[in-house]
């Protein structure tokens, strides 16, 4: 047995120091094989889908009125199903002209009626992501008037004049996906507008259609030969669920897959020396943060809030276990978002934290930090626990599955929450509207969707400023407003934003033009070649 052990150990060391070239068991030239975690997909219906992996599928299957070009993400949204649009003088009505000659996978033409149906459907189904649309005042009662098709145009009418870019950015989210009305209604059961059927099937007009989705196993997509930008070079895309980073890495090294999307920093470091593999970094929108419950008598003291901002080892973490995958960022708007601030004034400073705590008269504080069972979060939590202990605060970690901890967080039961937040649509309001917006802080309001409410924070006036920023149509002025909100937020809020995610996609070096969607959208595959 011991012989076997030492053999193993020896072999492992051998692997660690060797920089062997990739095995040549390559995947077919016209098939893209991606390994990632897809166990969060619970539905493929664009009106319902709201998770990362589901967003990837949806982006490749459904076209939208306006959309991002993966080869030029910096340009912002561009026309897709909508050829052009006009905004009424009062700023509440946008009229889209629908492009001619587009067709769904079924062969049905894409018409204004389909657009009207898809957007109305998203509002009527009232699933979780529906708030992205209903925040403009659409409701089941008025949707027949507010979203309307007429000939080859679709008109949407909002309850007040919002920044046009805000409205259009929201339409690039997954929920803006346009479905094939005829096909969907053919599968309607008990007036569900095809929801049950669309959960596991697709009826879009995008570059790919879903051939099969096996939950927690794989998604297979087939190219749409009639795609308006031309037939995608990858005729099949296979997304394979592989839980472990090490497994993804081994499979990439052996040439069994083309792209590995969930490698941890150590495996990225390990694989970058392997011949034939490249690692492509993309800044994502996800933020890691700590938040202090303002219902807590001690945590609600301003000095204490400030002290905590000096108890996080921002540099140490992003240089060690988060290395390459997170960058220090202390503002609620992720970098690359309109108005995002890049000021990061805080650093680990135990002396200062201790002094602040002393000024606030804190002694023998004991806190419960809720954190979900994910390795990087556990490490952040333990690092924080360590620093807090040095400042005389005893931190107990409550670890649970996402849903478990989330339930407590939403019920305002945790002292401190360690979590991540990803934007829902590529507009600054997506984060401002939850971090710095809380019109009614009372328990009865039960605004569980707002982060500020969950932490019992009344935002000290930022709510009004956020509301003002979202209707401001001048881009430069809007950016400046957000900058001000962030500056105040940094100092006064009970949120300690720590870092912004960098996605490190490792891939076979033959794979070109792969796009994970950066901070604003999801992955797309039609432009990939190899």
């Amino acid at each position: 047995m011991m012989i076997f052990k030492s053999l193993l150990a020896g072999a492992a060391i051998g692997l660690a120091i060797s920089t062997s070239p990739m095995a040549i068991a390559a995947t077919p030239d016209n098939v893209l094989v991606v390994a990632m975690r897809i166990d969060d997909i619970t539905t493929l219906d664009p009106a319902e889908s709201f998770e990362f992996a589901g967003g990837d599928v949806s982006r490749n299957v459904y076209m939208k009125l306006v959309n991002f070009d993966p080869t030029d993400l910096d340009a912002g949204y561009k026309p897709e199903i909508a050829e052009s649009w006009t905004v009424s003088d009062d700023g509440t009505t946008i009229t889209f002209k629908i492009k001619e000659g587009l067709s769904f996978h079924s062969g049905n033409p894409v018409t204004a009626e389909d657009v009207e149906f898809s957007l109305q459907r998203a509002v009527l189904l009232n699933k979780t992501p529906s708030f992205i649309l209903t925040q403009f005042g659409f409701s089941a009662e008025n949707v027949a008037q507010t979203i309307k098709a007429d000939g080859d145009t679709v008109t949407i009418t909002t309850d007040q004049p919002y920044a046009t870019s805000f409205v259009l950015n929201c339409l690039t989210a997954t929920i803006g996906g346009i479905v094939d009305k005829k096909t969907v209604l053919a599968h309607e059961v008990d007036g569900d507008m095809g929801n049950e059927w669309l959960k596991t099937n697709s009826a879009g007009s995008g570059a790919y259609s879903v051939q099969a989705w096996n939950p927690s196993d794989s998604v297979v997509m087939t190219a749409n030969p009639d795609y308006y930008r031309g037939t995608p070079e990858m005729t099949r895309v296979i997304i394979k669920h592989v839980q472990e980073s090490a497994s993804q890495r081994l499979q990439l090294e052996r040439g069994d897959i083309d792209v590995a999307r969930n490698l941890n920093p150590e495996d990225v470091a390990g694989i970058s020396s392997v011949e034939g593999v490249k690692v492509v970094d993309e800044l994502k929108g996800r933020l890691m943060y700590l938040s202090l419950n303002q219902q807590h008598p001690v945590l609600s003291k301003p000095k204490v809030r400030e002290a905590f901002k000096y108890l996080v080892d921002y540099e140490g973490m992003t240089q060690s276990f988060l290395k390459g995958q997170y960058t220090v960022h202390q503002n609620f708007l992720p970098q690359t978002y309109l108005g995002a601030s890049s000021e990061n004034p805080f650093a680990l400073n135990l002396e200062k934290a201790k002094a602040l705590l002393e000024e606030a008269g804190v002694d023998g504080l004991e806190l419960t930090v809720g954190v979900r069972e994910a390795q990087e979060r556990l490490e952040i939590a333990q690092s924080f626990q360590n620093n807090a202990a040095a400042a005389g605060i005893k931190v107990n970690l409550t670890v649970g599955t996402g849903k478990q901890i989330l339930g407590q967080y939403r019920a305002r039961e945790l002292d401190v929450y360690l979590g991540a937040w990803g934007p829902d649509y590529p507009d600054p309001h997506t984060n401002a509207g939850t971090f710095a917006f809380n019109p009614d802080n009372s328990k009865e309001a039960n605004a569980t969707g707002l982060l500020a409410w969950r932490n019992g924070w009344d935002t000290a006036g930022l709510t009004e400023k956020t509301a003002a920023a979202v209707v401001e149509n001048d881009r430069a002025v809007r950016a400046k407003l957000y900058d001000e909100i962030q500056a105040e937020f940094r100092e006064t809020s009970p949120f300690i934003v720590m870092a912004q995610q960098i996605e490190q996609n490792a891939m076979n070096e033959k794979v070109m033009n792969f796009s994970g969607g950066q901070a604003i959208t999801s992955a797309s595959y039609w432009q990939v070649t190899k």
């Binding site: 150990a9 492992a12 150590e266 495996d267 276990f321 390795q375 556990l378 490490e379 333990q382 649970g400």
Partner: protein, 304 residues
């Protein structure tokens, strides 16, 4: 007696007192137990484990919770980190040493719960028979038919993760076999003459069960517990591996493997060392259990 050495006294074929007979029986059992090198190995390892756990603060070269982000994932033999450091730069050897306490804690708690519950249910069911037996045994069947790890997982999920809850959950899955065993033994003992005699003397069921049936079930129970211990340690490690056992920063071995598995390709020792520790201890329990069975369980054909 003064002429005899202690050894002769213990090995005497004709014990002169009850005490001598009993002590001699134990001694001979001990001799048989230790005459087998496998059993002896198991015993030595477990003794060492207890010693390590007791003397943890003396043995550990570092504070098991002390982090050092600059010196993370260092290899075996780096500086004074004899077994390297983990992802947060903590000394693996020290964590291993302190982790032995958790392992012993799990072992002790489960031993206190599962066999006792099983014994209680099994003997009561077996002795009273009838409806009590039916209900108790059907309940046992329900728990037996449950997928073991799923039941444990469900319980931990229900109670919240943590080492005590993990122990409870494991005990919950571990008691049914004991109950079945105790019931089977009770059925044979119940109809024996000496129980009938005691009953005639007017002893109640409670007294008969606790005073006369329990002692007779104990030896096979001990064997079974020792053999099961490895399974229990592995189950606890499995829960730790799934993140439902001991909570960070606790140095529970299963959780250490779970933390280290991310680095398995480049920093293999982080997961391997606690894996070896779990393996060694459960092997020791198995070796000991095997030996104990040979000594205590006559059905299995005597000494080995």
């Amino acid at each position: 007696m003064s002429e005899q050495t202690l050894k002769q006294w213990l090995l005497s074929d004709a014990p002169t007192s009850r005490m001598q007979a009993r002590v001699a029986g134990l001694y001979q059992g001990w001799l048989r137990l230790t005459s087998n090198w496998m059993t002896l190995t198991g015993l030595i390892i477990l003794t060492a484990l207890v010693l390590v756990a007791v003397c943890a603060p003396l043995l550990a070269p570092h504070d098991p919770f002390e982090q050092d982000l600059l010196n993370r994932l260092k290899p075996i033999g780096y500086d004074d980190h004899y077994l390297g450091t983990d992802s947060l730069g903590r000394d693996i050897l020290s964590r291993l040493i302190y982790g032995s306490r958790i392992t012993l804690y799990i072992v002790a708690l489960v031993t206190l719960i599962a066999p006792v519950v099983g014994l209680l249910v099994g003997t009561v069911a077996g002795y009273l028979g009838g409806w009590t037996d039916q209900i108790l045994m059907r309940t046992t069947d329900v728990f037996l038919a449950f997928p073991r790890l799923v039941l444990a997982l469900a319980f931990v999920a229900a109670l919240g993760p943590g080492i005590e809850n993990a122990v409870l959950a494991i005990s919950l899955t571990a008691w049914p076999p004991y109950a079945r065993m105790a019931r089977a033994e009770t059925l044979t003992i119940r109809s024996s003459d000496f129980i009938a005699a005691i009953r005639l003397q007017g002893a109640g069921p409670l007294r008969i069960i606790t005073r006369h049936i329990w002692p007779l079930c104990i030896s096979s129970l001990i064997v079974r517990v020792t053999l099961d211990m490895a399974g229990i340690i592995l189950a606890a490690a499995g829960l730790g591996f799934l993140g439902l056992g001991a909570q960070p920063p606790s140095p529970e071995w299963g959780a250490m493997i779970s933390e280290g598995r991310r680095f398995i390709l480049d920093h293999w020792w982080v997961a391997t060392i606690p894996g070896l520790a779990i393996f060694t201890v459960s092997l020791a329990f198995n070796l000991l259990g095997d030996g104990l069975r040979d000594v205590l369980d006559p059905k299995d054909g005597g000494h080995g």
